[in-house]
């Protein structure tokens, strides 16, 4: 058999499934049907230049979602567009903006992208379309790299300003008097990649948009907001929470697509008792090499920078052994020079680059054309991200393929044993909470700085007076004789807020590895003891850093880049005190509660764990002060009568095991990192005087995770019960209730019992000894 003959995707799949090692690992094999294009004619009102410009580029009509979006905007509505990558989404906003500029040159538009690279990519596309349409339009990027003289021009004359939320927050809004032409004439605000605005970042961005709209109202403009999101569970709600206004939801993709086959592979169990599985890399390599040898364009997604490099090396070696297309396989990740990245993107579009191994950097909307196959080394952490990555493979007409290989991590194993989660369940919801008191108060200060508040004026959900009075206690805001609230301080409140972290007092992360020390990022105070303690491996943009020194008083962590095969995990001694229940409700086996809690945490030790196998490589002590976190939590209080007769130690093991499973399922349901949710269990809560499992939001004030868990309690408990029941281990493993050694071998049995009780099984059955 010739190894390198070009073959179709169907042939490659046959070849791949003929391999017993692959065939045995298949836990799901689904075919997604082909979809025809749903085309609409150009609307009559479309500018003639735009029309001929599009026709000149071979575009003869609009996809249905594009047509729906621009008609809704034409009708004066906000829109939220939800379509996969490479479906012509940019046209949904570029077209109305160019039309508006063609009709009235004084029109302004603001484009927001979460990263600079995306902004540049989109601006290039915008200019191409404008040139083709023969429309003169001043469109420019305004970000931290924009030189001072250019800034002035952009402020005064930029018709389309491309920026990011951080820049809008810190440089544009507080200086709105210099941008009055923009604010007076703002017609469209584009919020692209909106699904990235979740959690703390999303809560901040929602408040930045509130400030933006408040200033627009002051200057007499009423812009339409165009939100674009990847496919998530609640795009319309996300857009509404972000912008505070209900958009028209456009979520039926009119772009054509060929048939797609999706395989999920779970590597074989190596040690059943401990629940240890073989590495995912072997199967990833096998799948990728088979596609590449058949001359099929393939993208491989790794979860970290290290795994990208590792996979790239393995693929190149495997291809070299049989003289394969080694040089046509490239790596792509943060840290590569922009010019390198552009070259790889171009190579992918032209076909010169056959394979690329990437971090999730290529998950967002950068244009790399359409490929034959996507291989995912590990579950990307959310259903939405999985579909984004799978969506990178997909020809207009021919068959394409996607292969997801699970790792041995708990969330991966949940997905591998419940593949329906991926295919049947709706993707995760993006959660954010603009009403988080910490975030809200910070932006209220910034908003008062920008413009006084009228008495009774709303900021978000409610009139802001009570909150302003609260700020007034520190003297930074005052109510004047006219009843308005004015900023009365020398401080510049916007500079005190970083959109990417929850509260002030962040710890700066300083890279001392280069010629000069350089700030690479920051973490909020409450995460610092577990993320940047001395000896920690800190991950930033998929890059590993070793923390050499943490200066707690100065709030600085000194790090240097390293390349190691392990990560660190800190252990916290946590005590939790409930402060107030916002809502509670009787459920089988006890009560579910949503409320406010105070969490005191003391980082004690950290473990070094090998990246793939999670094998323990050693540990160290952490010496840092105790921290208090004031946040929101969801908790389940178990009815003491239901567990009467359980020994205290049994109950303890059951609560910990069930808690771990709940935490895993919660992170799947809520599209959050498992670390965003803290877990505390109390055999006898000093307040409720009964056994309680708490899941608390890991940032001050919370971002709405707890509230949503409260609502989805039943799903959560059922999911946790299935996770434990379906896990192939015999007595608990890291993928379900935690390693068996921690629980004396009883973890799985006891957790199952408790979860069965909570999901409504009768107590006498649940209490029966496990077989």
């Amino acid at each position: 058999m010739r190894l390198y003959a070009s073959a179709t995707v169907a042939e490659v799949l046959d070849r791949l499934l003929a391999d017993p090692a692959v065939a045995e690992a298949v836990v799901a094999d689904r075919t997604l049907p082909a979809r025809a294009a749903d085309m609409r004619p150009f609307p009559d009102w479309l500018d003639a230049g735009l029309r001929s410009g599009l026709e000149g580029r071979g575009v003869t009509g609009l996809y249905s979602h594009q047509a729906e979006a621009i008609e809704a905007l034409r009708g004066g509505r906000d829109v939220c567009i939800v379509t996969p990558t490479a479906s012509g989404k940019s046209l949904c906003y570029d077209l109305p903006v160019l039309q508006a500029v063609a009709e009235d040159a004084s029109t302004r538009a603001l484009y927001l992208f979460p990263t600079k690279a995306l902004g540049q990519d989109q601006l290039a596309g915008f200019h191409e379309l404008a040139d083709a349409a023969g429309i003169e339009v001043a469109a420019a990027i305004y970000d931290g790299d924009t030189p001072a003289p250019v800034r002035q021009t952009v402020r005064a004359a930029g018709q389309v300003v491309v920026t990011n939320p951080d820049m809008l927050h810190a440089a544009i809004l507080p200086h709105h008097t210099k941008w009055f032409q923009l604010f007076e004439q703002l017609r469209y605000v584009v919020v692209d990649e909106a699904h990235t605005y979740r959690g703390v970042f999303g809560s901040h961005v929602a408040n930045v948009l509130r400030r933006l709209l408040r200033l627009c109202a002051h200057y007499g403009s009423a812009p339409r907001i165009i939100t674009c999101s990847a496919t998530i569970g609640n795009p319309g709600q996300l857009a509404e929470t972000l912008t505070g206004r209900a958009p028209v939801l456009v979520d039926r993709n009119g772009a054509p697509a060929g048939e797609k086959r999706v395989l999920i592979l779970n590597p074989p169990v190596v040690d059943a008792r401990l629940g240890v599985r073989a590495s995912a890399y072997g199967l990833v390599e096998r799948a990728a090499v088979t596609f590449l040898r058949a001359d099929r364009q393939t993208i491989v997604f790794g979860r970290s920078r290290t795994s990208v490099e590792l996979l790239l090396t393995r693929l190149r070696e495997a291809l070299r052994e049989g003289r394969g297309p080694v040089g046509r396989v490239r790596g792509y990740r943060g840290g590569y020079l922009p010019s390198e990245r552009r070259a790889i993107e171009h190579g992918l579009r032209s076909g010169d680059v056959l394979g690329v191994v990437s971090t999730n950097a290529l998950e967002l909307g950068i244009d790399i054309g359409r490929l034959d196959a996507a291989v995912l080394a590990g579950y990307p952490g959310s259903i939405a991200a999985t579909w984004q990555q799978i969506g990178r493979a997909g020809r207009r007409r021919e068959l394409s393929a996607a292969v997801l290989v699970a790792t041995s991590g708990p969330v991966d194993q949940y997905v591998a044993t419940h593949p329906d989660v991926l295919f049947e369940a709706s993707p995760e919801e993006a959660r954010l909470d603009p009403e988080n008191l910490h975030v809200l108060l910070a932006h209220l200060r910034a908003a008062a700085f920008e413009l006084p508040f009228e008495p009774g004026e709303r900021f978000g959900a409610a009139p802001a007076d009570d909150l302003l009075a609260f700020l007034g206690e520190d003297g930074h805001v005052r109510q004047a004789a006219d009843g308005r609230w004015y900023w009365a301080s020398e401080n510049f409140p916007a500079s005190e807020i970083s959109l990417r972290v929850a509260s002030p007092g962040n710890v700066l992360i300083i890279d001392t590895g280069g010629d000069r020390p350089r700030v690479v990022g920051e973490v909020d105070l409450f995460s610092a003891p577990t993320l940047v303690h001395e000896g920690a491996i800190y991950l930033h943009e998929s890059r590993q850093y070793h923390v050499d020194r943490l200066d707690w008083d100065e709030r600085k962590a000194y790090v240097r880049p390293v390349d190691v095969d392990h990560f660190t995990q800190a252990e916290l001694a946590v005590t939790l005190k409930p402060l107030e229940a916002f809502a509670s409700d009787a459920v089988p086996g006890g009560e579910r509660v949503h409320g406010e809690v105070m969490v005191s945490s003391l980082a004690t030790i950290y473990k070094k764990l090998r990246l793939e196998s999670l094998e323990n490589l050693g540990w160290g002590r952490i010496h840092l002060p105790e921290l208090e976190l004031h946040t929101t939590a969801y908790w389940v209080a178990v009815d003491p009568a239901a567990v009467a007769g359980w020994r205290r130690d049994e109950l303890d093991v059951a609560l910990v095991g069930a808690g771990r499973a709940l935490q895993t399922v919660a992170s799947v349901l809520l599209m959050s990192d498992p670390r965003d949710l803290g877990l505390v269990s109390q055999v006898r809560s000093p307040h409720a005087e009964r056994p309680v499992v708490y899941l608390y939001d890991g940032v001050p004030g919370g971002v709405g995770l707890a509230a949503r868990l409260f609502e989805r309690h039943a799903e959560l408990v059922a999911g946790a019960r299935d996770l434990v029941a379906d896990c192939p281990c015999d007595a608990g493993c890291p993928a379900c209730t935690g390693p068996r050694l921690e629980s004396g071998g009883e973890g799985k049995r006891l957790a199952s019992r408790l979860l069965a009780l909570l999901s409504g099984a009768r107590a006498d059955i649940a209490g029966a000894p496990a077989a």
Binding site: E68, A72, P174, H175, H176, T177, K178, Y219, G236, Q237, E240, T241, A246, P247, V248, L249, D251, P434, E435, L437, H438, A448, F449, E450, L451, P452, A461, A462, D466, L467, F470, E473, D474, G475, R478, Q479, A480, A481, D482, G483, R484, Y486, W487, A488, S489, E490, N491, F492, P493, G505, L579, E580, F582, A583, H594, E596, H630, T632, A707, F710
Partner: protein, 434 residues
């Protein structure tokens, strides 16, 4: 498929049911925050004396406390404090100086006091001092903001103070005061006042006087140039807090120092113009001026393209340094002489230039290197004296080599000489061959 969305409820379940919940959450936050911020960092709590009080009464109270009046303008009442200071001076000379000031237009001296630095939207001017000189005395009208709410009235009153043909005179007003005021007009959606010109004395003071002053603050410049020293002047950094304290407490006396400081600043603008006019504009009077100031003026004239006046000032400054009082350092003096010589060459006065370079060359020192190089250039290209040019270049080389030997290489001169000597040697060889 296009569909409407149901309204989402408040993100915290239960929140909408209990109106006192927010109060309790804020109470807990308060307890938490107090531990994060130490008591010393907190300003005293706001007293709500202002809120609800009659705005007119507040303005009247402030006017009475500061010895001013409440004037009723188009935008409402504004507190005005007016004082006149005798200031005999002449400004006739200004027209002869290389600055964009049109004496036919009314000069409006302006200085603001603000609640912070920068011109972001949360900073406002709570006091605008406007100065006018009537030929004998200097009158300062200060517009004071009794409360945040009165800003539209203050801005309207300010419009009336600045006629469209006015030329503003400020100190750092181009970068700070005026953009800040423009920002305030933009914020209130009023067009900012139009002016015919703006003379910012900060860059001028830097050019003329910085060489002999510790810094370029207005008070320092005034002390160093006009010999006026202020007593008990309020440091600028304390001014914003004084205003916030007035807003909190209603004690007008807190602003008395601020008004005095501002009035001094406005009068200083007049004094500095007077100094420039009287000491620097007239060639006769200039003889008594500080030679360093005259040297600075020479450079200003030169930059303005007024080369005859520049050369005259160079000559005066050098003469003063050589005859009356020595220059601060020898290098200062020789650098100025070199600038003068360069300007002579550039304006085609080659004989004078050569004499000037010759004199500099004879003085030795590092400037002499460039003097010899200039002489080499002059002899090679103008006097067509290759041997003389070679000799001058070699003289320069000798100094350069000495410098290098003691570890102070003059690299630019070395490169120049290497090229120059190579060319001169080549020519000399070519001449010998023919």
């Amino acid at each position: 498929m296009t569909h409407e969305l149901a309204r989402v409820s408040s993100s915290v379940p239960g929140m909408d049911r209990d109106p006192t919940l927010l109060a309790r959450r804020l109470e807990r936050l308060r307890a938490l925050d107090r531990r994060l911020v130490t008591a010393a960092e907190l300003p005293p709590p706001a007293r709500r004396t202002a809120a609800g009080a009659d705005p007119g009464a507040r303005a009247a109270h402030l006017a009475a406390g500061l010895g001013g009046t409440v004037e009723e303008g188009s935008g409402g009442p504004v507190v005005v404090v007016e004082r006149a200071t005798p200031l005999p001076m002449t400004l006739d000379g200004l027209a002869r100086l290389p600055y964009p000031v049109d004496m036919e237009r009314p000069l409006v001296y302006l200085d603001t006091e603000t609640t912070g630095l920068g011109s972001a939207a949360g900073t406002l001017a709570f006091l605008v001092g406007i100065g006018r000189w009537d030929g004998a005395s200097f009158c300062v009208r200060q517009l004071v903001l009794p409360d945040h709410a009165d800003e539209p009235a203050l801005l309207a009153a300010l419009e009336a103070e600045i006629p469209a043909d006015a030329c503003l005179v400020t100190y750092n007003g181009r970068a700070f005061d005026w953009p800040l005021l423009v920002a305030r007009y933009r914020l209130h959606r009023r067009p900012p006042p139009v002016t015919a010109g703006h003379l910012d004395l900060l860059p001028i003071a830097r050019q003329l006087w910085r060489h002999r002053l510790p810094d370029a603050r207005l008070a320092s410049v005034e002390a160093g140039v006009a010999g006026v020293r202020r007593h008990g002047d309020l440091p600028g950094a304390l001014i914003p807090e004084r205003y916030f304290a007035w807003l909190r407490t209603g004690r007008a006396a807190l602003l008395a120092d601020v008004l005095a400081h501002n009035r001094e600043d406005v009068v200083s603008l007049g004094r500095l113009l007077g100094e420039m006019s009287e000491r620097l504009a007239d060639p006769e009077r200039r003889r008594s001026a500080h030679p360093g100031d005259v040297a600075s003026l020479a450079r200003v004239f030169q930059r303005d393209g007024r080369q005859d006046e520049a050369l005259a000032c160079y000559a005066e400054a050098l003469a003063a340094w050589d005859e009356r009082e020595p220059a601060p350092t020898r290098l200062d003096r020789d650098t100025l002489a070199a600038e003068a010589a360069r300007l002579l060459s550039r304006t085609g006065r080659h004989a004078e230039a050569e004499a000037a370079w010759r004199a500099l060359a004879d003085r030795g020192g590092s400037t002499a290197v460039w003097a010899w190089i200039a002489l080499a250039k002059h002899r090679e290209h103008r006097a067509r004296d290759s041997a003389g040019a070679m000799e001058a270049a070699l003289r320069a080389l000798r100094i350069v080599e000495r410098r290098r030997a003691v570890g102070i290489p003059l690299r630019a001169a070395e490169r120049d000489l290497a090229r120059r000597l190579a060319r001169l040697h080549r020519r000399a060889r070519a001449r010998r061959l023919t």
